[in-house]
């Protein structure tokens, strides 16, 4: 009997402590960045990243900024029946969170492919183009096309578009390119690897490579023709067709009236909504 009383008391004590902790946690949270909207509007949580400049990243004072945010804010302005809130997650976890209904839209420059479409619902309307090019060390002259990469090692970011494109290429051509997976989020190690000839190339987009060269001093360059021209889309859960249709419609409008291009020029420094 006494044992039971002891245990019951301890359990009660613990419940109180856990409860307090949870309440404290609730108060301590400051991560949500909400856009104001009508009170009867439906809350939609956008899952995006916080480490991908210039699409979604945190500025000096810790606010989420970037292209993804600007476009979706405009979309939300045109869709008052929804109220968008932003949740930042690591790239991989955005998809997990979407599947688990923790977020309702994935917005992190996602590209479409059949494998992915099996599990998630992709938008029909794209909002950015993604033109991937080969990037090599400044002094390299031997690589000018994807064929030149045969037998070479190429750094690819885990889960990135670059990895996907090369994986497809490898599948079709009998694995000629050696893929080296990296965390992708640390350009320092990637550029260092090119400089030291540890790897021969990586795949990126021009505006990002320009950023690297500004930061680290001219160390890398873009070569040859684009190896892939694709577009990026929002991702939804399979059942959220209404949401998808609504946003697709707005995106079409924004493209038609030039708003999307304006945002792109303002944030990305060029119109990358239809070509690079």
């Amino acid at each position: 009997m006494k044992e039971n009383i002891l245990i019951r008391k301890v359990v009660a004590l613990v419940s109180v402590m856990i409860f307090t902790t949870l309440i404290m946690a609730g108060c301590g949270s400051t991560t949500k960045d909400s856009t104001s909207g009508a009170s009867e509007s439906k809350k939609i949580i956008i899952g995006t990243g916080n480490g991908f400049k210039p699409y979604c990243y945190l500025d000096d004072s810790g606010n989420l900024v970037g292209y993804e945010l600007e476009v979706l804010k405009e979309v939300n302005r045109r869709l008052p029946q929804y109220k968008f809130e932003f949740e930042t997650l690591d790239f991989k976890n955005i998809l997990l969170s979407l599947g688990a209904s923790k977020v309702d839209i994935g917005a992190h420059q996602f590209e479409k492919n059949p494998d992915r479409a099996q599990k998630y619902l992709f938008a029909d309307e794209s909002y950015t183009t993604f033109i991937l090019r080969i990037t090599v060390a400044k002094n390299r002259t031997d690589i000018n096309s994807i064929e030149d990469l045969h037998g070479k090692s190429v750094l690819v970011g885990e889960g990135g578009n670059d990895a996907f494109v090369l994986e497809q290429y490898n599948k079709e051509h009998g694995n000629p390119i050696k893929l080296v997976y990296t965390s992708g989020s640390d350009p320092v190690t990637m550029i260092k690897a090119l400089e030291d000839c540890r790897a021969d190339a990586f795949i990126s987009i021009k505006r990002i490579v320009d950023g690297y060269n500004q930061t680290y001093g001219d160390k890398v360059k873009i070569v040859g023709q684009p190896i892939s021209t694709s577009s990026t889309y929002y991702i939804y859960r399979k059942e959220d067709t209404q949401l998808k249709t609504d946003i697709d419609k707005v995106l079409k409008e924004m493209k038609a009236d030039g708003t999307l291009a304006q945002i792109s020029i303002k944030v990305l420094g060029g119109d990358y909504t239809t070509n690079d």
Binding site: N93, G99, K119, L155, E158, G159
Partner: protein
């Protein structure tokens, strides 16, 4: 949330292929960690002047640095240091010829050394002072005392903690992905990149880790029993 069991199985298969990398990444640093860690523990235990304090600083810095940062720092420092040396001496070998796994070994060995040196120091403290006195009284030297009397008694004390150290290394080695070494965790994740089925991949990796660590625990349990025969008798 629909869970793709078949994909999980294929991720499991991938991660099994790379399990040996994870094991290598844990066992090599563990081995060197025991070697260096024991030496550091002994030096600190005997309070050797200057050297003891320097080593204490070393242990504190390594313990306080997150593993990911340690890996990046070692990566840059080693590659740079190596090229500097090879340029100075006009050697033909360049840092790009070193397999990245050696850099991972170096970084993980630092972490392991710091952790294991604390384990061994704790174990040395656990041996009663009377054992030293008795050894000296029968004429053993300091070194003989350490090797024949103290370490054999400290080791069984250290074993459960060493086991935790090794498990920590096995789990912590997945960081090597930062420098593009593929281990069991990342082998499971790579196929998920195409279809975004990350949860399945993580769970597949978790199963391999779990089995691996249960096996490690059992080996160490057996080892502890075996090494402390002199203690067990009292229980019988």
């Amino acid at each position: 949330m629909n869970f793709d069991v078949y994909f999980m199985l294929s991720a499991l298969q991938e991660s099994l292929k790379y399990t040996w990398v994870t094991l290598l990444l844990a066992i090599v640093p563990f081995f060197f960690g025991i070697l260096f860690g024991t030496v550091i523990a002994i030096i600190r235990f005997y309070r050797v002047k200057v050297l003891g304090e320097l080593l204490q600083l070393f242990v504190v810095i390594i313990k306080g640095t997150p593993g990911m940062v340690m890996l990046l720092i070692v990566y840059f420092a080693l590659i740079q240091g190596f090229d500097t040396i090879s340029q100075t001496f006009h050697l033909a070998v360049k840092s790009k010829d070193i397999n990245l796994i050696y850099i991972a070994f170096a970084a993980l060995t630092l972490t392991a050394t710091a952790a294991i040196s604390e384990t061994m120091r704790g174990a040395l403290t656990a041996v009663a002072t009377g054992q030293y006195e008795a050894s000296y009284s029968v004429g053993l030297t300091k070194r003989q005392t350490l090797r024949r009397i103290i370490l054999p008694q400290a080791l069984p004390v250290a074993i459960p903690v060493l086991c935790s150290n090794l498990i920590g290394l096995i789990k912590g080695s997945s960081l090597v992905f930062m420098i593009s070494v593929t281990d069991l965790m990342n082998a499971a994740l790579i196929p998920a990149n195409t279809n975004y089925k990350y949860l399945e991949a993580y769970i597949a990796a978790a199963l391999v880790y779990w089995v691996l660590n249960v096996v490690v625990e059992n080996i160490f349990f057996w080892l502890e029993q075996h090494l402390s025969t002199y203690k067990r008798e009292v229980l019988v």
